[in-house]
Point group: C2
Chain length 336, copies 2
Amino acid sequence: MSEVRRDIVTDTWVIIDTENDRIPVPPPSDVTVSGDCPFCEGNESRTPNEIYAVRSKGAANSPGWQLRVVPNINPILRVEGELQKHGVGVYDMVTGIGANEVIVETPEHITNFFELSEEQIALVMRTYRQRIEDLHKDKRMRYILIFKNHGPLAGASTMVHTHSDLIALPATPVRVKQKLSGTQEYYSYKERCLFCDIIQQEIEMGDRLIFQSEHFVVITPYASRFPFEILIVPKRHAFSYKVIDENEIKDLSRVLKVVCKTMFDILHDPPFNLILCDSPNLLPKANYWATIKSDFHWHIEITPRLYRTTGFELGTGFYINHMAPEKAAGIFRERL
Amino acid sequence: MSEVRRDIVTDTWVIIDTENDRIPVPPPSDVTVSGDCPFCEGNESRTPNEIYAVRSKGAANSPGWQLRVVPNINPILRVEGELQKHGVGVYDMVTGIGANEVIVETPEHITNFFELSEEQIALVMRTYRQRIEDLHKDKRMRYILIFKNHGPLAGASTMVHTHSDLIALPATPVRVKQKLSGTQEYYSYKERCLFCDIIQQEIEMGDRLIFQSEHFVVITPYASRFPFEILIVPKRHAFSYKVIDENEIKDLSRVLKVVCKTMFDILHDPPFNLILCDSPNLLPKANYWATIKSDFHWHIEITPRLYRTTGFELGTGFYINHMAPEKAAGIFRERL
C-alpha cells in the first residue's frame, strides 16, 4: 500500500511507494518489440485481467478486441481498502486508495498515436468518457487524470505500444484547484466562462490560432510553458468531458490525428505529454465549487518536452520558454 | 526583450523569449573542458564584465580572483528598461525586467560542487547573501532565486565548471506564494513557525533525520517529491537568508560539502538541483504578508533528478515518488 502525503508547506500531495527498497537507477533503454509486447493481441495473459474492452468477438482476456483497459501491473494506487486520513505530528496522510489503469489503444503494435485510424482514435475517446463515468460512481475518487507519455524524456516507460494512462486520485490536485479558482474568479467578475472568452479572443486575434474545426479550437496558449505547447478547447461550453457527444468525439479524433502528426513532422518525433483536463468528481451535496458547471470548461493540453526543467521551474513553479507561442502557431499553420 | 506572461487560468507566470526563431533541438552533449572554459581563470574576456568578485589581486575582469559574479551571456531577463504591466485582451503581461547572473564558484576547472574546499564554499555562501542584499535594493526585483543545476537531466547547460545561477524576478513565484500561505496559515493557528515545529518533530521522530550540525538540521522531507530529496533548515528562526551570520555560513559550508559528497557516492553522480528558498523582497509599506518575519523560515532544497516527470506531474502538480524518505534517510545515515 502506498501513502498519499501532503506537503503542509505548499499543499502539494506526493504518492509515496513505501514498499520499494531499491535505489533508483536510470531506466533501461531497450524497448518492447512486437512479439514480446504484453499489449499486443494474443498476449492477453501477460496483463492483469481486463476492466473494460471493446471487442467484436472472443471472451474476456482473449484475442478479438479493438481496445482493452487493464489495471497497471505495478499500480501506484489501489481500489481495495478503506480511505483513511490521519496525521503524523504536523503532517497529513491519506491511504493510497485510487485506481491506476492502462488504456491499450490498439491490438496492433503501433507506437505513434497519430498512426491509429480516426475510427480507432474515436474508440479511445469514447473509452476516456466511459472510464470517467464509471470511476466517478466511487465517491472516494476525487479526480480522474487521463494522460499520455510519449518518449523517455516525457516520462514514458519502455512500453512503446500506444496507450493512455489513467490515475484516479483521492484528493483534488493542486493544478486542478488553481484552474478552478482562476475560472471561478473570472466568472464571478464577468459572469462569463474564461475559456469561452479565451477561444473567442484567440479566433479574433488569430496569431496563436493553429486551426479550428467544427467543434474545436486549437491554439498555442498565450503563456505557453513549453515550445509548441498546444491547447485544444471544445467550442461548446461543457464543464466535463463526460458530456462530450458523438459528433464531438468524431471531430476530436480528426483534430488529434492531424495535430499529433504535424507535431511529429515539425519536431521529429518529440517526446510529449497529452493531458485531458477535466472537472473533479462532484460530490452529491457539494457547495464546494457549486458554480463549477458554469465556470469550468474541459480541455486537452499537449506539451512537447524538448527541454528539461531546471532548478528555476522547481523553485518557482514558473517556466522559461524560448519559443514565442505566436511563432510556434505560425510554424504549425504552415505545415498543416 | 522577453515578456513575462501570466497564465490567467492557473496564475502561473512564464518568461517568453520573444526574439528566438529557432525550432529547438536537443542540446549538444559535448561539454566545456578546462582550456576552453569561459569560467576558468585567464578566460575573463569570454564572459560579460563582472558584477562582483572576491579577488586577492588584479583589476576587475583579469586573473587573481577567488569567485566572480557575471551577467548571464544570454540573459532571459534584463535590468535595463521600465517595468510595465499591460493587458492583452483577457491576458496580463509584464516586460522582462529582472536580472540573470552566474556565480562562478572557483577559478579552477572543478565540476563538482563538493570538491570545493569548505573555505571556498563559504565564499559562495557569502556571495549568495551579498547578491540578495544588493538586488533587494531595487524594488522592481520581487524575488531573487539562487539555484544550481548539475547534470543534463537537471537542466544543466554544457558549462560544467561549478557555478550557481541567479534569476531576479519582477513577480513573486507561485511556489513561493504557496509556501508563504502554508507557513502563514500555520502561524495564525498555532502562533509558532511551521519550519521550527518541523525540525523539532524530525529530531524527535528521527526516521527522516540525516544528521544535525551545530546550526542546521538535514532531513528527507515527509512528502519528498523525488527519491533522496534533502531539506536543510537552519535551527535559528530566520525569515531570510540575508540575516545568516558568519558562524552559520561556516557550518552550512561543512554541511553542504558532506551532503553533496554523500549523495554523489550513493547515487553515482546524480543529476540534481539545489535551490535556496528565501523570502521575497519586502516592500517598505508592505501590509501584504506583514507577518512574514515570524511566519517564514528560509531553507535549502536539494533534489536529485533520477526520473523524468510525466503527464501525471504536469497535469496535477502532484508527484509520485518510489522511494520512501525514511528509507532514503536510513541509507544516507549509513553512508555518512
